[in-house]
């Protein structure tokens, strides 16, 4: 599980850098028609990333007059990747007989989903606590998928130490995703809502 998260992230950063590269290129004099296009296009970069990954490299840098590419990975991701969210820590593949029963798998799938919602703004939890979508069990949720929010819209409550903390959206936009179910525990920095600005 952690591996998935790890590689999802790695891919994201790769894309990030790719985007940067393209940006730089765009500002350079236009000579895109030339077949010998001195830089790499997206397809080539994709191939490059595959190539580097396939060979198990953990660092790749490339630079010429026009571009500079750098790819890097954590060298021992399988072993050292740790849980990144409030979810049971992943079991060690080499120790299949772990005595712990790992029952609380609630947020596991969500994490992978969240990683793919790259263009959404994430409202994250500023504190550790329990997530509630409505002010009290018999009330309507503050927001639903499709709701429009402005920066001061209250989107949920995170209860910590018996205190109800109202969380504001802090951006304007449309609620596209709700990552956490009502009543579920959340940790610091955990994405709660995905907002399309």
């Amino acid at each position: 599980m952690s591996d998935n998260i790890g590689s999802a992230k790695a891919k994201e950063e790769t894309k990030e850098q790719t985007r940067g590269g393209r940006g730089k290129k765009r500002s350079a004099p236009k000579k895109t028609s030339q077949p010998s296009e001195p830089s790499l296009n997206m397809a080539e970069l994709r191939e490059l990333a595959n190539l580097v990954d396939e060979h198990g490299f953990t660092d790749f840098e490339f630079e010429n007059a026009n571009i500079r590419v750098r790819l890097s990975k954590n060298p021992a991701p399988q072993f050292i990747q740790a849980a990144q969210s409030y979810a049971p820590a992943p079991s060690i593949s080499g120790a299949p007989q772990a005595t712990q029963t790992r029952t609380e798998t609630k947020t596991e799938t969500t994490i992978a989903e969240i990683a793919t919602d790259e263009d959404l703004y994430k409202i994250t939890s500023p504190i550790v606590g329990t997530f509630y979508r409505s002010p009290s069990p018999d009330k309507e949720p503050y927001v639903k998928e499709g709701s429009n929010v402005s920066p001061d819209t209250i989107v949920c409550i995170v209860e910590a130490m018996k205190l109800m903390n109202e969380i504001e959206a802090e951006v304007s936009g449309e609620v596209v995703k709700i990552y956490v179910e009502n009543g579920q525990p959340v940790e610091y920095g955990q994405p709660l809502f995905g907002i399309r600005k």
Binding site: N74, Q84, V128, T130, A160, Y188
Partner: protein
């Protein structure tokens, strides 16, 4: 008999001690919850705990010292108890009290005992009342030279004049003869005033070459208390311990019994329960004086574990469950000799921190070698916390063999990518005075790295 069962523990700490606590919890069949800052997402304690909760941003104040975040994490994960480790909130009376108020077992002594021992003046007073020897001197500021003269007649020379508000050596003056006293007192007071805007000074017996000896105790809720012998912690640099041993090369069985008995008696009088440590200064004549009591597990607890085969963390948990200690003083046997070297991510000469990525990390194995660490190849030492990355501990039949073993283990421990104190420890192991056991807390001041 357990009064209450602990099935799940939140570890309010990081690094090797968090892993250390997880190891024992696993052996006891207790589930564990790791809390971590954003900087520690890939830390080993997060990896090995059954559950993990991110509690805040990298700075300690926002994560490992963030009481509401930790208590919230304990609540959402439904733990029975919190183990504070050492450092961070381990000696916070407030934290222990909040745990109690939230019905979470704090694995340590009662909040009021933590508070009592955390206040230097109160601790001194309490210990004195419990029959623990205290360094002769004036607990209160010295008003004038006459008071000072009267005092030094009682306690004898040399004495040290210290700024009441002070610290870090400023305002400190050592006086070896009566005729210097008045002048030094005035200068110390002037210095203190300049440095701390408070000219108050006090006087204490000065020990030229003290040793730092500490006694490990275990006490349960039912009034049972034993000690596990002493640790020798004199090898320090700026009051930071570098390496520790058990037993001390200078403590005789009689001295051990005497110091242990004093500590055990004091524990019983203050109603102490859990593991704890009495720190003493030992002078050249073998007299010892109370410095402070640490109401938590210590970094150097493994040397005691090696020579007694006790698991101190297990005892802390059992005591927190209300269990009886289960063994008596005569069950404690000191077998062989143990040394611990703290491997820090630091320049071995200048002691400047050296955070960064560990590219190669090879741990020594074989007979009598123990490594407590949360580090692995590829781990990045964050700049936010303590620089200790591992504890290398050896055990052998004699001190001489333990030193030989430690040298071998240090040579075989490979850490690349950052600087560490491994070369310094090797130099200390090769030092003749160290080998003879002939040293005091002044050892590092007189030690030349290149000599």
């Amino acid at each position: 008999m357990k009064k209450r069962e602990i099935r799940k523990i939140l570890i309010a700490n990081r690094g090797e001690i968090a892993c250390r606590i997880i190891w024992t919890c696993k052996e006891m069949g207790i589930r564990t919850v790791a809390v971590h800052s954003e900087a520690d997402k890939e830390a080993l304690h997060v990896r090995y705990a059954d559950e993990a909760v991110c509690i805040g941003a990298p700075p300690s104040a926002q994560s490992y010292l963030n009481i509401p975040a930790i208590i919230s994490a304990a609540e959402i994960t439904n733990v029975d108890a919190i183990h504070p480790g050492y450092g961070f909130l381990a000696e916070s009376q407030t934290f222990a009290q909040v745990c109690e108020d939230c019905n979470i077992i704090f694995i340590g002594p009662k909040p009021n005992v933590i508070g009592m021992m955390g206040d230097k003046v109160e601790a001194r007073r309490t210990m004195q009342a419990a029959g623990v020897p205290i360094l002769p001197g004036s607990p209160d500021p010295i008003e004038d030279i006459d008071v000072a003269l009267k005092l030094v007649k009682e306690i004898g020379f040399p004495v040290i004049i210290k700024a009441a508000a002070g610290g870090g050596g400023r305002g400190m003056r050592i006086v070896r003869q009566e005729e210097d006293l008045a002048a030094q007192l005035e200068m110390a007071s002037t210095e203190a005033l300049a440095a701390f805007k408070n000219g108050s000074v006090y006087i204490e017996r000065y020990i030229e070459r003290p040793r730092h000896i500490e006694i490990q105790v275990l006490a349960d809720e039912h009034g049972n208390c034993i000690h596990l012998g002493e640790r020798e912690c004199s090898i320090q640099r700026r009051h930071q311990k570098l390496l520790e041993e058990a037993p001390s090369p200078v403590i005789t069985p009689e001295q051990r019994e005497k110091m242990g008995a004093v500590a055990v008696k004091a524990c019983k009088e203050i109603g102490y329960s859990s593991a704890g440590t009495f720190e003493f200064l030992l002078d050249e004549d073998g007299s010892f004086y109370f410095m402070e009591m640490n109401t938590r597990i210590q970094v150097e607890h493994p040397v005691t574990e090696m020579v007694t085969l006790a698991d101190i963390v297990r005892n802390q948990i059992r005591i927190a469950e209300g269990e009886d200690l289960g063994y008596a003083q005569e069950d404690v046997q000191i077998v062989g000799h143990s040394i611990e070297c703290r491997i820090n991510a630091e320049d071995p000469v200048k002691f400047t921190p050296s955070p960064g990525k560990i590219t190669v990390f090879n741990i020594p194995g074989g007979p009598g070698v123990r490594v407590d660490t949360a580090v692995y190849p590829g781990y990045v030492v964050p700049p936010f916390y303590d620089s200790m990355i591992a504890k290398l501990i050896v055990h052998a039949r004699t001190r001489e063999l333990a030193i030989a073993r430690m040298k071998r283990a240090l040579e075989m421990m490979v850490v690349e990518g950052i600087k560490t104190t491994i070369p310094l420890h090797l130099k200390i192991m090769n030092d003749e005075k160290f080998q003879k056991g002939d040293f005091s807390t002044k050892f590092m001041e007189e030690f030349s790295y290149n000599g």
